[in-house]
Subunit: 345 residues, 2 copies
């Protein structure tokens, strides 16, 4: 299996190293031959090649069995010129990675980290399914200092495709899907809601479906996060709500993601950003990246056992109190990686 | 002074009655002659006139010194045909009510209501300034079951106008403004950020300005709400973030809003919705509506003293433990209204 690593910017390289370490360890333990190659994306690719998504990176990614991304962006590239994030968006499109899965789980023993009162946070275990290659992220843009615009558009096919992912996931969980939209204002949300309802009625009559407006959802997520199981949402709302939800579980540094494709092995990345303020200091929490590596084994390579091995090793470390500063621990990035790797073998 | 009351749907009429009661009481106490008229908007206007914003309502609103709105919407009008919310959007446009002020304050004694741990919630006192007549709410819409789209657009003038409101407000507070956008993805956000920076540099060099991406803001709001003072945001992001923030203060039923205009006296409404599930049961929290009435006195009629009288009476009731069920009390809507009115005289 060939795996492309895209370390990217800021703490990206540190967490990419973490992902590689657990993949190698779990691969060896389960007799999986894995081959890695590293490529530039984002700000470092702008610096080295003048392009946030160079052709060589694109080719390697579309040919790989799976792609792991660290993080992109930073103030260095905020001043003008090409943007690091354009590289990430181009990558998502190139891979057809339309289905972004963001599981949000409160780890036992980490309840004290949540900004929410323990009784509110307790039992949080949801899967956010975010549409990732449509909506306002990819519509026509008009740049300008006098007038600017962004077009948000969705087709029925795009909505159906992501809704199917959510409904299928719900079948392996509690058979409940909460679809988020702003149908009282947006035309795309009305298309979204109608499509989701029609698909449920036609193909998923066993799934309990409800609809929550995005503003109400931003409230309900913190009022009673444990009430949600599978949350289905379009691209921009998913961006906002998944970051919000990640905090409930204690730290965004813990949250992984998988972006699935119908044509490629998918893209795996922690949901945190490049955190330039702590880059290179051994402070980055590698857990989100390592959990993303586990998702890679599960979704791209079909290696459920190897995925569970990594997840179990991480849970063991967390319950042993081994963690970085953001989760109240005193370990460095490397120490956490070593502790997890030890528990894999 | 003429005040138009638009009770609307669901619990709207109950909370509009609360607003009227405190306005009459405070008006009498401060020697202010106030004249009220009531008009239909939203779902009840669809039922009575086939139009969520009838001409008679529009005329009364544009001629009034101020407009108070209860709430609009409900499942009854979800099935098709005109939408109640279209009436609210048309009203905002007709009044030119572009500047939506949403103060979020944790009332002393109500800390236990917040889903956040007390040490996180404590000290929350922010003003969200939301652009209300632009962005994706008002751009071209293409409806459809196969393809749909919504256009988000902003002009420099629109951004400047709302940023001025935020900077001016910050001068009366801590001189700090946090501007929220998604400048790493959206063209309108880049226009937004550039315009806000240019205006600060030109006219508000005394204001400390920073920029937070909307996804990060959704996290920071719950991680450390007390860190924020004035939060400046476009229409859709403001919708989501202000609902999220309102929960921090314990209940959305407590949160008021004022929507200011350059040409009219503005629109005043609690930020909660029509809550059809509890309508007509005397359970609606009237505090958000009564605090909105205070904002009406302050902003539309320049009656700071009368506004403070209402706010003081509400704070006294809350600290006496008088409140509706959503804030852990046992009082009915009417009992809360009476208790506040007693404390006004
Ligand atoms: C970096 C940015 C373009 C990206 C997004 O908005 O999708 C990030 O916030 C995320 O959620 O993966
Ligand atoms: C009812 C709806 C159209 C409205 C909005 O989205 O602006 C409401 O959510 C609000 O925040 O006032």
């Amino acid at each position: 299996h060939t795996i492309v690593l895209l370390p990217g910017d800021g703490i990206g390289p540190e967490v990419a190293q973490a992902a590689r370490a657990v993949l190698e360890k779990a691969g060896a333990a389960h007799g999986l031959p894995l081959e890695f190659s590293s490529h530039d994306i984002g700000g470092c690719a702008i610096d080295a090649h003048g392009d946030p998504f160079p052709d060589a990176t694109a080719e390697a990614c579309v040919e790989a069995d799976a792609v792991f991304l660290g993080a992109v962006g930073g103030p260095k590239w905020d001043a003008g010129g090409p943007r690091p994030e354009a590289g990430l968006l181009a990558l998502r499109r190139a891979l057809g990675a339309f289905a972004n899965l963001r599981p949000i789980t409160l780890f036992p023993g980490l309840e004290h980290l949540s900004p929410l009162k323990a009784e509110r946070a307790s039992g949080t275990d949801m899967l956010i399914v975010r549409e990732l290659t449509g909506g306002i992220y990819f519509g026509d843009k008009v740049e300008g200092d006098e007038n600017a615009s962004d077009l948000c558009s969705y087709s029925r096919q795009e909505v159906e495709r992501i809704a199917r992912i959510a409904f299928d996931a719900a079948r392996g969980r509690s058979r409940r899907v909460t679809s988020v939209d702003k149908a009282n204002v947006l035309a795309t949300s009305r298309l979204w809601r109608n499509t989701v309802i029609a698909l449920r009625d036609a193909d998923y009559p066993d799934i309990e479906l409800d609809h929550v407006l995005v503003d109400a959802m931003a409230m309900k997520l913190i009022e009673r996060p444990a009430a949600f199981d599978v949350v289905l949402t379009e691209n921009m709302f998913g961006d906002i709500l998944s970051d919000e939800a990640s905090v409930i579980a204690g730290s965004i540094g813990l949250a992984p993601s998988a972006s699935l494709s119908q044509t490629h092995g998918g893209l795996y990345e922690p949901i945190h950003g490049s955190a330039p303020d702590i880059a290179g200091q051994g402070k980055a929490n590698p857990v989100g990246a390592m959990l993303s590596a586990a998702m890679l084994l599960r979704h791209a390579l079909g290696q459920e056992d190897a995925a569970v091995t990594i997840e179990g090793a991480i849970a063991a470390c967390l319950s042993d109190g081994i963690g970085t500063g953001d989760i109240g621990g005193s370990a460095s990035t490397h120490e956490v990686i070593s502790a997890v790797c030890e528990r894999i073998s």
